[in-house]
């Protein structure tokens, strides 16, 4: 192999720093005599502060290539580090999504970024999105542009073997919601207004015939393999490979079509976390893992969106194992919601928002944190008011 790489920045987190995927990457760089530096201080569920630390590291040196070894947190942090290192004069908020940031288009070229995903969930290796907690708003936001999409993803299921069972389950729920949300997202030809210039086109186009192929296929794989993969037998290589590819497939789908309410509502659920200690996560701060924060509202959300495209909701329910042979269009919402509840129960998911520390008193704060997530919530197939959002959070307090 002829690699001309100059100086490489390898980003990872503290847990992964000593695990086999990182060892493989470092051995490969050493063997090829490629100069590199390691940044292992990525925060799980990154914040603007942790993004800025990584950016400062990247700016200090003149890197030619970035390599991200980790889950979505690492890959997203590395995207931001690459972006701002290549735009040293930009203010941090310049490229952050409006209305929180300025949402400026990225016009300059970035350095190549090679993503080595070690969870089967985010699909971040396929997307132009980098998400972080904006601490003083207690809400997640991000940067979304094709320009920050990794150049290459190295998708090897053996890189996920180290995942604790709950990390595997939660990242799988992220795949499930990527697939369901992108398949039911507002169709591309119903989005408006048309951007004045192609450079202003959003990263998320709405559901379309290309993204549909990926979303539907990913959902089929999740339905077939998720339980085998997450709970039955972690050594089941077929299930592990399939779920790792499903995260890529769903990533291509949602990275193109977009996600909507589950993701939009998940950001304040994660951002307002009080004391919840996530099982299986070795972190020193309270956290509602991303996949869990996304999936907890899914029964309520799809019950709400079903009337806009009942056929797709019925099809999703069927793929997830429901008998839809006698279902009518108006059954689509309740049927998909019930199917999801059963799926989550079988996978031992916490019983709703209450189980991760929320109560009805928190609903106004959760709604407030959802409002700025327009970038995704406007892709909901059904328009919604703040009252609708309140109802969705309330209906998600308990699932079973």
């Amino acid at each position: 192999c002829v690699c001309v790489a100059g100086k490489v920045c390898v980003m990872t987190d503290r847990n992964l720093a000593g695990l086999p995927p990182m060892r493989s990457v470092l051995e490969s760089l050493v063997r090829s005599g490629i100069e590199h530096k390691v940044y292992d201080n990525v925060r799980v569920e990154p914040t603007d502060t942790s993004f800025k630390e990584a950016i400062a590291f990247a700016k200090k040196e003149s890197f030619d290539v970035f390599v991200a070894v980790g889950g979505g947190s690492v890959i997203d942090t590395c995207k931001a580090a690459n972006l701002y290192a290549c735009h040293p004069d930009a203010d941090f908020l310049d490229f952050v999504n409006a209305p929180i940031g300025r949402g400026k288009p990225i016009t300059g070229a970035l350095k190549p970024l090679i993503a080595v995903p070690t969870t089967a969930g985010t699909g971040s290796e396929t997307t132009g999105v980098a998400i972080f907690d904006f601490e003083h708003l207690k809400a997640k936001t991000g940067i979304a542009s094709r320009a920050i999409k990794p150049t290459l993803g190295v998708v090897d299921p053996l890189h996920t073997l180290h995942m604790p069972e709950r990390v595997a389950a939660n990242s799988g729920f992220d795949v499930l919601c990527h697939a369901l949300e992108s398949y039911t997202a507002l169709p591309y030809n119903m989005r408006s207004p048309c951007p004045p210039n192609p450079i202003n086109r959003p990263a998320y186009q709405g559901s379309n015939p290309i993204s549909d192929v990926w979303s539907r296929h990913a959902l089929n794989v999740v339905a077939k393999y998720m339980k085998r993969y997450a709970v039955r037998d972690p050594e089941d290589k077929e299930a592990r490979s399939s779920m790792h590819l499903a995260s890529v497939f769903a990533g291509i789908g949602f990275g193109n079509a977009g996600v909507h309410l589950c993701h939009g509502m998940s950001y304040p659920i994660a951002g307002n976390v009080k004391t919840h200690k996530a099982k299986g996560y070795n972190v020193d701060h309270p956290v509602v893992p991303h996949g869990l924060s996304v999936v907890l509202t899914s029964p309520a959300v799809f019950n709400f969106t079903a009337p806009m495209c009942p056929e797709r909701h019925l099809e999703a329910a069927q793929i997830l194992g429901a008998d839809v042979s006698r279902a009518k269009r108006e059954d689509a919402g309740p049927l998909l919601a019930d199917t999801l509840r059963r799926f989550l129960y079988d996978l031992e998911v916490e019983d709703g928002l209450e189980a991760v520390g929320y109560s009805k008193e928190d609903v106004p704060a959760l709604v407030k944190g959802t409002i700025p997530q327009e970038r995704v919530t406007k892709l909901s197939p059904r328009e919604h008011t703040e009252e609708d959002l309140s109802h969705l959070f309330e209906a998600s307090m308990k699932l079973y």
Copy 2:
């Protein structure tokens, strides 16, 4: 829209020159005040001579962008013109596939090429392949490299409205075979030897989890829409849109995985044409249209390849409407062959190679013309001798 295009080369053929898709393109260029020149001398089923004429045209001027308006012949010719105009010192055979050409890797950058397909068949807008008749060998060969892949495809089903019924049917058969061949191609992890350098990787990788998604999906669309589209009602917009997208989907699939025996054997079938006048084609030379030359051997080919991956052959038969509920693995070949024969009969396809002017005496020449098609035939899931190829041609003389 802000387009900075410099000088544009528009390529098309004589028939299309006066038809609506070309008019739209020219009106758009004139409206935007973009300098352009038209080359409308592309040959349907191009040859090395016709490629060279187009290349000479492209070399004379200094074009910044290429636009191809037409079917596979036009898009492939335009790819070659772009390639050699950007490599003015290269000999024509430098980039032509070995063993006929030198198969050199393309390392320089090409100009952007926008493909506007007007048939729903080749998928050329998605691939890095350009095929032509090498006249003195009476066989087709081509150029295959990611570097010649169009930058953008404008896929509008209204651009296919001008197609005569037989052109629609034949281009649909090309989609069918792209899907079937790529889905049954030798798996990517069974190809060998490994190329010494990534730049030497072939354009065709063998079937893999990504191409499978596209190939299987394209086959489903063909099964659902081909008859509605090609024979029942040419004004059926849903069928027309779906088939146009199916050609793109199958193009992404086979452009990545490759095709095998139907395509490898089709090149001498087209190249050795004697007097066959294709219905619906307004050309002044004998021609076996590409899609027809490909599909005529399909029952024999898939009967032959089925033992290597019977599940996929059964799945294909089922997608095309066969009842596979009681089928055993050893039934896969005959069942898919029968299903294809019925499909072709319903679509009024000529009764085998005899009906396009061949007899058993031609078999040695057809086999001889297949031998140099290694680039594709080596992707067959089943190894084959010259005797096997003879049997396949003989078995394709009559279909019904």
